[in-house]
Symmetry: C2
Subunit: 216 residues, 2 copies
Amino acid sequence: MTNQPDDQLRVRRLPDRARYELQAVKAILAEGTLAHVGTIRDGLPIVIPMFYAVDGNDLLLHGAPAAGVLRRAAEQIEICATVTIVDGLVLARSAFHHSMNYRSVVVIGVAESVEDPAAKASALDLFADKIVPGRQAELRPTTEKEIRGTSVLRLSLSRSSAKVRTGPPVDDEEDYDFDVWAGVVPVRTTFGEPVPDERLKDGIELPISIEHLFDS
Amino acid sequence: MTNQPDDQLRVRRLPDRARYELQAVKAILAEGTLAHVGTIRDGLPIVIPMFYAVDGNDLLLHGAPAAGVLRRAAEQIEICATVTIVDGLVLARSAFHHSMNYRSVVVIGVAESVEDPAAKASALDLFADKIVPGRQAELRPTTEKEIRGTSVLRLSLSRSSAKVRTGPPVDDEEDYDFDVWAGVVPVRTTFGEPVPDERLKDGIELPISIEHLFDS
């Protein structure tokens, strides 16, 4: 007997699983809005919401150069970025089995500070397009001063995992007879009527990029 | 000259600010859904989404006893729980000034493991009522076995802070002439049509607690 078949299986299977996971991770990141980024400050954990975008197989994190989390993260320490989307309230027949349907991604790793001005400018474009797809094309180019005033961290998605809960409540068998409504209430993120800036110039219509937000 | 007036001012002002902040913190926690909880695992930060409820001036965190974050947090180490609500996409005239309107709360401290069975049962009630206000009254009481199968952490709100961004984009003065739409797109969390469990008994109507979710 030899371990070879198992090893081969492992070699064949792990890349598949990794690809699948990276696809799942990227699908969740495409839909999420904020990352909650954990770093260690004076030996203690601190979690801050940060804006992010995805660039290929990397997560880009965005902030002001003065932001503590960015300064600490740039010191080549490991950080953790978690993105969660709530999909539903799971209403079971007992308090114990109440839950949420959700999709979450955890990315860990040492973040790299993006220093190249062109890469920082392109990151700002990605952030604008993450907020509203197509937005960047409507804006003037980023200036050198703005690039200097921006900090961007790059965190590889190579150490990331996705976790998903879907479906109905799972109750104890004896509780299915209980006379109480059970099921799932879907949770959605929706957009309200756009509020034009008070200083918006006359005659400027809502661009198609923003109109597309309301398509789905 | 003496520092006394300043000191008095400080004594008078800080409690006001603290009260205000605690009110602001609790208002945000009442509306939020998930906490992103940071702990340290093998010296590195890890951030996990967790369900929470508020009990007086404490945050209650809920999970399975096996959950790593709960086990680590119960070891009398400091944790950080962050709750963020996104209120709007802030669309400026430059990529640089794009932002989000949001409300966030950061709570830090050493969490206490809730061990008293009655306190754990009442925490489960609070969690059910946090998911759907009034839900707990519709459910059977929690069993002793369920109480044993539940871990609850209590984290004081005494070391908490709120951070809020509201209002329109703030652009560079020279950009207000630029021909691009700018303003805020409100972001809301809404509920979809409730999906009854496939095993729901015939004749059970949607309870008023769930109908109330659609009031606003």
